[in-house]
């Protein structure tokens, strides 16, 4: 079976382009760092504990057994090989891209374009560090799910999955997280890339669920600059990207203040939910470089070593 049987040439080019973008971003980002991330994280011994029935035999330290005639299990640092799952929002709202978004960066201008590039960059970076990377895309339900792997060849699968277009469905972060929480397996790092356009209470509950399973959560909230300052004037028809039947024709100037206030309240609620659950919340607009997001990732990574 050839790869072209699975994906179209267009998708393939997009995968290649995404991969190239990811490398470009990561290498460009890492070239300025004193300590190269390519060394990876070595397996570090933590402690010995007595063997109990049920333990895997391969974990028995035979050298200690030879010396002491007792069975001890050798334990290592849990995160020696990081298991990271990227949760990428591909709902309709992610398809918005204002004029200012594409001005300062490479790639497309929609929020989903930004999320794709960011997820690809993180994947590339983590696989280079021999961490296991998984991917789940979602809108109102989980769509593509790729379990975490640390093989370099895993990159291509992730990229191909990321290359899918955003859907026109609505976002249901809370419902999605509850569904995927059980599938994430053992403790790991969960990186959410979404615009968080949904019920904040539901999101908060989902974050609580993730945290209850001892996952470290990093939440990149991707927003377009237009969504932040609402720069429209005159009469504007706003059409919902997630629901074509939903539209409003309003005098944009008359609702600007109210919208900004609503945004402020929304952000405050999300921030509050993240703070309560000890989730790293990183809001970012699509006119910002990816460096900021990668810095945030490294800060997080070093914290959970």
């Amino acid at each position: 079976m050839r790869i072209l049987d699975l994906v179209s040439p267009k998708e393939l080019s997009r995968v290649a382009r995404l991969q190239m973008l990811a490398r470009q971003v990561v290498e460009g980002f890492c070239s300025g760092r004193h300590r190269s991330p390519h060394k990876g994280f070595s397996v570090e011994f933590k402690e010995h504990r007595p063997y109990v029935p049920g333990d895997e035999l391969r974990n028995i330290d035979w050298k200690v057994f030879a010396k002491s005639d007792r069975l001890y299990i050798r334990e290592f640092e849990e995160e020696t090989n990081l298991r990271c799952t990227l949760l990428v929002d591909r709902s309709g709202s992610m398809r918005y891209g204002g004029e200012r978004a594409a001005a300062n960066r490479i790639g497309g201008k929609t929020k989903y374009d930004y999320a794709q590039t960011l997820a690809a960059s993180l994947t590339y970076l983590m696989l280079a560090q021999q961490d296991a990377v998984g991917l789940i895309t979602f809108d109102d339900a989980p769509r593509d799910q790729i379990p975490p792997r640390s093989r370099p060849s895993h990159l291509k699968l992730v990229m191909r999955t990321l290359a899918h277009d955003a859907t026109q469905r609505e976002t249901d972060l809370g419902g999605v997280f509850q569904k995927v929480a059980s599938k994430l397996g053992r403790r790991g790092l969960v990186i959410i890339i979404s615009d968080a356009m949904g019920d904040v209470a539901s999101i908060a509950r989902s974050l609580t669920l993730l945290r209850s399973k001892n996952h470290e959560v990093l939440f990149f909230q991707v927003m377009d600059p237009d969504e932040m300052d609402f720069p429209f004037t005159g009469r504007v028809q706003f059409r919902n990207l997630e629901n074509v039947a939903n539209e409003h024709i309003v005098d944009s100037r008359s609702i600007r203040d109210a919208y900004l206030q609503r945004l402020k309240e929304h952000q405050a609620a999300i921030q509050s939910a993240c703070r309560r659950n000890r989730v790293d919340h990183f809001p970012i607009t699509t006119d910002r470089p990816f460096d900021d997001a990668l810095h945030e990732y490294f800060a997080m990574r070093s914290r959970i070593r």
């Binding site: 709202s93 932040m228 059409r239 629901n243 939903n246 600007r256 609503r262 919340h281």
Partner: protein, 771 residues
């Protein structure tokens, strides 16, 4: 409601323009595929109603603005306010205060009368051709005023001058109301233009207005009355005025020094230093002097001057100062200068021995220079006679004063002649004595319609002649009556102390008891006790009878009963009394507006005695008013004895001339004057209290206005309705501001889920807030 410019109201159709723009703009919008609809949904849901309302309000405002503008230009009139038929002709009675205070300049430097002229002219210019104007000036308030057209009224108003005296408000309104009764039209309006000084709205004015109210209410056509008040802040006006000039001498005799005093008042708040004042006598200026007047104070300027010309002479005091009311910086009075006073002494006890006659001391006291053989003229010329020659002497000499000194019993002819003499203005002095028969004096003195009695009834003699016997009883004389101005020179003026008794050394051994009839006291007959004994019995009593005066002494004028004639005080007392009795009682200075009357005898008396007049030809008379207008006039009355000049409408000197034909020579022209002056109260600029003026206006249902424009506006409202374009203009401006506000602020107002507002994006954006 009616529209004055109805065509412009069509401009209201312009409201369709904003409506069309609104409808067009609704169909034009851009489309945005929006991602954050989760946020926008709630915002739109919550604010939709408010935004729709505001948009609707904005649309209404925008449609309303051209409508308001169109109606504003169309000048709508609310006819609901109309209380009078608007298009009917009307009669306006304008009463203008021509008093001197109207000449005062206000803070803007413009005389009040000029402002009144200007404002009334503006009002008259708006009248129609059918309207009628009756113009009244307070200087001739009682004159029957004719009606005229607006143009003539404007011309007449230009001629008005503020030179008159005060006229009470009640009298002004009454005259105006009477004038309005002669109006041609049914609509009648009275406008009283004045500065409403406090003295014209006194209690008398209020009473007059209350009486007038009844007659106005009963009138078939009640005129509307308006007060145009141009007097404001009069108390802040700095004014210097000559308030009065008075003659301090009882009589001014030609060739003898006379004293005059003038009161100059500074109503300003700052002192006036080295103010130049100049006297002028009979048109001849005297060297100026300087005076200093403290703020809000008066000073007295004095003049001692010898006037040689017999007749009425003008005396003027002028102050050189530039102030708010220049007209009152000068004042003139007319002073009647008389020739020597002719006193006929009727001696009841004549004697050839020096100083033994009854009137010897008196003759010396009255003509001391003649007695001393000096050249200096005496003010008084005395001649002695006896009772039997009394009538003949009076007829021959025409004396000013007749003195009966111890005349026992005047016969009937003498009594009748004296009765007529007193009635015609002569003065009679009666001295007591031992020969007097009281019954003859106590009877009625009568001649035709001249009937009078002596001031007091002669009673019994108390005491007797003065003797050297120290034990004989003496009757001390008390103080002089200070109200008798002629003797102030002896008593040292009104400020003298009571201890300074000039008659303390006069010994009186006997006197006749003068009994004042209780019936006369009850009737309030005009008599005054000039001097009394310490016991209270009168020494001298005076009364005015007919045109003259009678002075009755309880003691003789020789040295029989008292040593008074030998005392120093006797001479000035008698001199001053005679001067006072002979002094002029002519009203030579009168208030402007008062009628002027001049007896022909006054002019005839000025003809030189040696002139041979032609009695076959009657004299001719001419008058000259202050403006220089000369008019011929004729005496009036049954005996043609007085000249009536009419009311003194102008301030200044009125001259009356008599040209008397002389046999075989040029006719002789004699002249006398009368001076018309404005009462000093007109210089005391003092606005009436606002509440008092309102009360006065309320009595007769008048309205008070400060400007004629508001008066006209009210009148327009009453006649045509109320113009409301100003209100519409205000509404238009408010609407424009409201539209601007709604556009800028109203539509940007916000209501969000949380309630608080913000115009900026979240502050934490885009930097992450790592927890």
């Amino acid at each position: 409601m009616t529209l004055l410019n109805g065509l412009l109201a069509l401009g209201a159709l312009a409201f369709t323009i904003p409506l069309a723009i609104h409808l067009l703009s609704r169909s034009r919008f851009r489309t945005v595929d929006w991602g954050a609809m989760h946020l926008l949904d709630s915002v739109v849901r919550i604010n939709r109603r408010r935004i729709e309302l505001l948009n609707l309000l904005l649309l209404l405002l925008r449609c309303l603005l051209p409508v308001l503008l169109a109606f504003c230009l169309a000048r709508p009139v609310l006819t609901g306010f109309r209380s009078l038929p608007g298009d009917q002709p009307r009669t306006i009675v304008i009463a203008v205060d021509e008093s001197r205070s109207m000449a005062a300049r206000d803070a803007d430097g413009q005389p009040r009368i000029e402002r009144v002229k200007r404002e009334l002219t503006t009002m008259l210019e708006s009248l129609s051709r059918q309207d009628e104007v009756i113009l009244l000036g307070t200087n001739s308030i009682d004159r029957v005023a004719g009606s005229m057209g607006a143009t003539d009224a404007i011309r007449a108003i230009k001629e008005i001058k503020a030179e008159g005296g005060p006229v009470e408000l009640g009298r002004i309104v009454q005259s105006a109301a009477e004038a309005s009764e002669n109006a041609t039209h049914m609509q009648r309006q009275i406008i009283v233009a004045s500065d409403f000084q406090s003295h014209i709205v006194g209690d008398g004015a209020i009473e007059t207005l209350e009486r007038l109210k009844t007659s106005l209410d009963e009138a078939s056509i009640r005129p509307s009355i308006s007060f145009l008040n141009v007097g404001v802040e009069s108390d802040k006006v700095a004014n210097v005025s000559v308030d009065a000039i008075e003659s301090d001498s009882p009589a001014v005799v030609a060739g003898r020094s006379a004293k005059f005093s003038a009161r100059i008042r500074n109503a300003g708040d700052s002192p006036l230093r080295d103010l130049r004042v100049a006297w002028s006598v009979a048109g001849k200026p005297l060297p100026p002097r300087t005076v200093t007047i403290p703020p809000r104070a008066s000073v007295t300027a004095r003049l001692t001057h010898k006037i040689t010309d017999v007749g009425v002479n003008p005396i003027t005091l002028s102050v050189e100062h530039s102030d708010a009311l220049p007209d009152d910086n000068s004042r003139t009075i007319g002073v009647d200068v008389i020739r020597e006073i002719n006193v006929l002494l009727v001696d009841g006890d004549p004697s050839n021995r020096p100083l033994a006659g009854e009137t010897d001391f008196l003759a010396i006291a009255l003509s001391p220079f003649a007695f001393g053989g000096q050249d200096q003229p005496d003010a008084v010329r005395t001649s002695k006679t006896i009772e039997s020659k009394l009538v003949a002497e009076i007829d021959e000499q025409s004396p000013d004063i007749v003195v009966l000194a111890n005349v026992a019993k005047p016969d009937d002819a003498a009594r009748e002649r004296l009765a007529r003499f007193v009635n015609e203005g002569g003065s009679l002095i009666v001295f007591d004595g031992d020969k007097i028969k009281p019954d003859a004096y106590n009877d009625i003195w009568k001649k035709d319609d001249a009937t009078w009695r002596l001031p007091a009834k002669m009673g019994e003699v108390v005491g007797g002649p003065v003797s050297t016997d120290r034990e004989a009883e003496l009757f001390p004389i008390g103080d002089l009556n200070r109200q008798y101005a002629a003797w102030n020179i002896i008593s040292g003026g009104s400020g003298a102390t009571t201890s300074n008794r000039p008659l303390a050394d006069v010994d009186v051994g006997g006197y006749r008891k003068l009994e004042i009839d209780a019936a006369d006291v009850a009737t309030g007959a005009a008599r005054i006790t000039l001097l009394s004994f310490v016991s209270g019995d009168p020494v001298v009593i005076a009364s005015r009878q007919g045109g003259g005066q009678i002075v009755q002494f309880a003691i003789p004028c020789d040295g029989d009963w008292s040593n008074w004639p030998m005392r120093l005080v006797f001479l000035p007392m008698m001199q001053q009394m005679v001067l006072d009795l002979a002094g002029s009682r002519k009203q030579t200075t009168l208030d402007v507006g008062a009628p002027i009357s001049v007896p022909t005898a006054e002019l005839t008396a000025l003809i030189p005695s040696d002139a041979k007049t032609d009695s076959s030809k009657p004299p001719t008379y001419a008058t000259e008013d202050p403006s220089g207008t000369i008019a011929a006039t004729q005496p009036v009355g049954e005996a043609a004895t007085s000249l009536m000049l009419g009311d003194a409408a102008l301030v200044g000197t009125y001259r009356v001339r008599q040209t008397t034909p002389v046999m075989g020579g040029e006719p002789i022209t004699t002249q006398t004057i009368r001076v018309a002056e404005v009462p000093a109260i007109e210089s005391q600029l003092r606005d009436v209290d606002a509440s008092r003026l309102s009360h006065a206006a309320e009595i007769i249902g008048a309205q008070v206005y400060g400007e004629v424009s508001s008066l006209t506006s009210d009148d327009q409202t009453r006649r045509f309705g109320r113009e409301v374009w100003r209100w519409l203009l205000v509404a238009l401006l408010i609407g424009m501001v409201g539209e601007l506000f709604l556009q800028q602020r109203g539509l940007r107002g916000k209501r969000s889920l949380g309630g608080a507002s913000s115009k900026t994006p979240p502050s934490t954006w885009p930097t992450g807030d790592a927890t």
